[in-house]
Symmetry: C2
Subunit: 538 residues, 2 copies
């Protein structure tokens, strides 16, 4: 496949503006061909118009047809996997194995949603049958199910060029729910984005879907993204990125004449609490696991553990020493973009100058002084200082973490109560620790979307139960997840039908339940046809 | 029970400010004793602090305990029903029978939510079991369920002094999910509010719940409501009222340092489409039903049908004539408040001066020229004018509706496509009409929360399947409902537990499923213990 450097607007090629931008290879700082043309305001309009037209068709096709489409995307991605990984390697300097695994994860996500919508039970169908004999007034027949919202705008993230980008979880869940999708490509990996966009466009054609089902727009500024979020035809937004960027889009979405839901996942510092029993039993293993976790992907994960609370025990010293050693031996990393590189360096410098914090260790080996390069850094402070200081709980995107020493039980609870929203919180403990710190778990449950026991927050499992969300500022809406099958609920709304003849209802709501889905019929969960049930007394 | 005229802050009586306000009897315009003291900023703080403390306990009690509490509220309301109805009659001038029915509905709603949380399956428990043998990496054990958000602020509505007020659906659903509730009483029925507040406070005591579980604050301005929405301890907001009021609160919630979800139900014009076959078959019956529906409760329902599209048929004339006759014979109404009265009169006067619109009929009988009094008014225009004009689709709160004549099939679709969000849309048709207008149904589905066939939008059924929501401006979040059991989902968020020992998990997530709830285990819906299932191949 050839890269055109142009937006993909339905079946059309965008022309864009002449100020081309280029991806940069973080391994050497060199620009990559071809140049990419930022989309125009007219192309935003065209994409939104096509998406609105497509919605009238795509929003009403069956779960089976949507599953076929999602699987076609996965198959098309797999057929270009080596090309895709090669381009992504150039654009991100991430290891090939990681990018291969991420391609597999991306295809796996698409197939998870395919399975979900083919099965069909996700629509939460609800049937409350009529009771003409009810006194004082007859009970009407009321049936509801989840329906799509309309055109959805998705912003690709820089740190997962595949799994959280053009065909990532946001796109997969929005398409699965029945919404046309307009992706704003992340400018750090436009080539990877275009290849994925071509694969989706081809799947749209293969499945004879309306062309506006999918659009990919390029821009290396904020103009096109803003225009998309403000566009009257757009019905919802998915975003993964920085707090500043996410909040700006939240404000735009809220200020529209007609506000729309926005689901922004904006990162997190992911507190880790190491409890006394676990520290005593296996401090070294935890130190090794923690080191792997906070340096994984050069620390550029929204689940990176960025603050670690240690109890006042002798083992805490050897834990810190072990980690010091590991961090010193950590080789240099290539960060994803020059912007991430300078932000990381600036944040590390600021923290080094903070008198409340000590540098425990840094990558020992000399490393290139290029913007994209960075070593690992381990900081330390104590719980008392942490509670008094501002900004020590802020996310630093990159391979660094902060140890907080001497957290007594009471301090630990106090720290936990003062936490903002995070995506995850991790506890390392024995079963006895867990009993002793039940109050800690209770507090953390109100602060995060995912609680991890004796594991690490990186390496997120894509499944039904997973929650990749959390109260603000981790996300814009702590009631949502952007990973796993529950992500589909962001892009759907319940619609109810009162008094409609059976044959005019969507299949999901008909008496005979032709799709065999799980439904709540007169308050009871069942897959049986509604007509075979005895009528409930009401 | 004695009215104190003071806020109920947990178990304490507020002192408030000395500028007492009084309810007014709409039947005679006379003020009612006692005076009510607006809450203070310090009382907002106290309420929020108590609610946050209560959340640590109330947020974790079992479904059974919450059910007991909700039923205790219902029982306490029933034990003061005659007193409650008498006071509500004075404060609203609504008919006694209506207020008795509304008391029953309010208690019914509380018991619906009691049943829902006692049953327990509403938490959408999800169990994805570990697979230590999975390659390339073991699959962790991940389990999720819905958990409450924290203190929720509810604004009572004027037009349902019981069912959408202090112990209405918003409060019932927020409490059912496990959230402490702070109600801002509507100033039009403070006495009714205080009586209901006392009943809830008593239930909190009877069930030995923390005092901050419930607070009721008075204010006849916007200060206390604003302070509540901005308070850092508050986690979500429920509101029923005007578009202007709702949007102001939406803006406040979005502008907080930490934005919170707000569920504002802001009314609607509820389009009605009368299709040719139905008009021919039973025009008179539809006219009679429509008249009852738009004058019910003096037209002060958010489901009032405020615009009615008629096809170009001879029967349309006799339909309009029939309705003219009915409207002429309609007696005068007492509106709920002076504010509603003047807003209604002003809107009617503006519409009368609109050259695009004709007055077809008005209440013939002379009626009192008091602010609270109003007659019914029937307006008419044509589809062409309607499409060109601005504001003819705006809600007028009160006993009026607008006929739109000569809507041909194409006009009907055009009108439907141009609709903003509404709570409901109604279609009167034969089965043949429904086939001929399948495209109309498809469009309306994207515009409203509830579609009604051959019925009327007023007289909302409280059940599992009902959706009382709709895209903006009907509500702030078209993905939500404020009526029916699905209303609970507004006030809950999914939290997931990774790798926790079985005995440390909430009961809903344990292997043996001690509550016997429906769960998604490894992707399959079941009530069986997780351990008895064969492991799925992954």
């Amino acid at each position: 496949m050839k890269l055109s450097g142009r937006s993909i607007i339905g079946f059309r090629e965008g022309s864009g503006t002449p100020d081309l931008f280029y991806a940069t290879n973080p391994a050497n700082g060199e620009p990559l061909q071809p140049g990419f043309a930022p989309a125009t305001a007219a192309e935003v309009d065209l994409a939104a118009q096509l998406a609105a037209e497509a919605f009238a068709v795509y929003g009403r096709i069956s779960g089976k047809e949507k599953a076929k489409f999602l699987r076609a995307i996965a198959a098309n991605l797999e057929s270009i996997a080596s090309e895709l990984v090669a381009r992504a390697e150039q654009e991100t300097a991430l290891p090939k194995a990681r990018l291969q695994a991420e391609t597999a994860r991306t295809c796996g996500q698409l197939r998870l949603f395919a399975q979900l919508v083919e099965d069909g039970s996700w629509v939460m169908a609800c049937v409350d049958r009529a009771d003409p004999d009810r006194k004082p007034v007859p009970r009407p027949d009321i049936r509801s199910m989840l329906r799509p919202l309309g055109p959805v705008v998705i912003f690709g993230a820089s740190n997962f060029p595949l799994a959280f980008s053009v065909a990532g979880g946001d796109t997969a869940s929005a398409l699965a729910a029945g919404n046309p999708v307009i992706v704003k490509a992340h400018p750090a990996h436009p080539g990877t984005s275009e290849l994925v966009g071509q694969a989706i466009q081809q799947a749209v054609r293969e499945c004879n879907l309306p062309e506006g089902t999918f659009t990919l727009l390029f821009d290396n500024g904020t103009k096109i993204g803003e225009a998309l979020v403000k566009h009257p035809q757009v019905r919802a937004v998915g975003f993964t990125g920085s707090l500043a960027g996410g909040r700006a889009l939240m404000n735009l979405a809220a200020a529209r004449p007609e506000p729309i839901p926005i689901f922004a996942e904006m990162g997190s510092t992911n507190p880790v609490f190491i409890l006394p029993g676990a520290l005593q039993e296996r401090g070294d293993a935890i130190a090794a696991g923690l080191h792997t976790s906070f340096t994984l992907g050069a620390g550029q994960f929204c689940t990176k553990p960025g603050m670690v609370f240690l109890p006042p025990a002798a083992e805490a010293d050897s834990f810190a020493a072990r980690l010091q050693h590991l961090v010193g031996d950590t080789p240099q990393f290539n960060l994803l973009t020059a912007g991430i590189g300078s932000a990381y360096r600036a944040a590390i410098d600021r923290r080094k100058q903070d008198s409340n914090v000590q540098v425990l260790a840094e990558t020992n080996s000399p490393f290139a002084e290029r913007t994209f390069c960075a070593g690992a850094t381990l900081f330390e402070t104590d719980a008392h200082t942490f509670l008094k200081s501002h900004g020590l709980d802020a996310e630093i995107f990159g391979p660094t973490t902060l140890l907080i020493r001497h957290a007594k039980h009471e301090d630990t609870l106090k720290v936990a109560r003062n936490l903002e929203g995070h995506l995850t919180a991790t506890i390392h403990g024995t079963e006895q620790d867990l009993r002793d710190y039940a109050d800690l778990v209770a507090i953390l449950e109100t602060k995060v979307g995912r609680l991890i026991f004796n594991g690490f927050p990186t390496g997120l499992e894509v499944c039904h139960a997973v929650v990749h969300g959390g109260p603000y500022p981790a996300t814009s809406d702590g009631r949502s997840t952007s990973v796993g099958s529950q992500a589909i609920f962001r892009f759907a709304r319940s619609v109810c039908f009162q008094g409609f003849p059976d044959n005019s209802l969507p299949e999901e709501l008909r008496n005979d339940n032709p799709l065999g889905i799980w439904r709540l019929v007169d308050g009871e969960m069942t897959r049986e046809p509604a007509t075979q049930l005895a009528r409930r007394q009401s």
